[in-house]
Subunit: 159 residues, 2 copies
DNA sequence: TATTGTTATACTCTATAACTATA
DNA sequence: TATAGTTATAGAGTATAACAATA
């Protein structure tokens, strides 16, 4: 039996790593979403905040940040920007909280946002061979939930 | 038959979007890779460059950048940093090109890099139910290749 | 003419710390 | 004490433009 002294090196050593493929696929998909939102004058993060506000009128900046994994400190300029654009109102509910609600203009734009997200998602799905589509999405949720459960455990142990 | 005036809004309107799940899964996986590389004193991008140099000794900065989707302008400080760390030598091959090769120290560290990447990838895989694993990876490559083919077409039409 | 490496620069994203006002 | 919002700031990551040297 022969002994192989060195593992053979692939021409592209990153390609076989699923994590790297995940990152490349994600950033490419993100670029398409950004492209589809550009005509609306919104970045993906702003568009996602609008969708959340529509589904949870009166949600606080902190609520939205927790849902979308955006830090409180970064929600402030984001919310102010949406208010300046006439898309949301920031109503003091509580003395320390600000509940966000869509304006008429914000509601109209959010309807377009939803269409843009859905179009991007359709495009993504069509790039995957049919037989893998269902399992792909299930696997993504398994990953997302698994990593998130772990990070919640980390939070507990560091407090 | 009843008419429904408004589409009901889900509690989390981003969750059903595969593209959003893709982004969340990717950034969580990336965080774990960064964590696993931290003891080696390397960021993911630096670690990936080392792996590429090992598999393609003498590759130029531009070569590596094309493979890893890193701009030439950003390869320069990256390569200088690896050289300062004693991990790579930058050899003038061509008068304008610099071929990168690993030093002894770089080779030793790259072996550890490979183990760290593989551990991260194993962790990722184990978070996915077995029945979805194979299809998940196939779907990722389909996505990556599909978006990349499209961006190559865009490059052609803009030149 | 096209390509390599380089520099300078800018913009976005993400993260931390510190502060206030309120619950 | 814990939480909401705010401000300032810092660090990555990514991007563009311009230039010199070389192919």
């Amino acid at each position: 039996m022969q002994t192989r002294r060195h593992t053979p090196q692939p021409a592209d050593p990153m390609r076989p790593l699923a994590g790297y493929a995940l990152r490349r696929a994600s950033s490419a998909a993100m670029a398409e979403v950004a492209e589809n939102l550009r005509p609306l004058g919104l970045r993906p993060v702003e568009a996602s905040v609008l969708l959340v506000i529509r589904s949870r009128p009166g949600a606080t900046q902190s609520d939205i940040g927790r849902l979308l994994n955006i830090l409180r400190a970064n929600m402030t300029p984001l919310a102010i920007g949406l208010e300046r654009g006439g898309l949301v109102r920031r109503e003091k509910t509580d003395g320390r909280s600000r509940g966000l609600v869509l304006t008429e203009k914000g509601m109209a734009l959010t309807a377009k946002v939803q269409k843009a997200f859905e179009a991007s998602d359709r495009s993504l799905s069509e790039r995957i061979p049919k037989k893998y589509r269902e399992g792909f999405v299930a696997a993504l949720y398994a990953l997302w939930d698994s990593y998130e459960a772990e990070s919640r455990l980390d939070d507990l142990s560091s407090s």
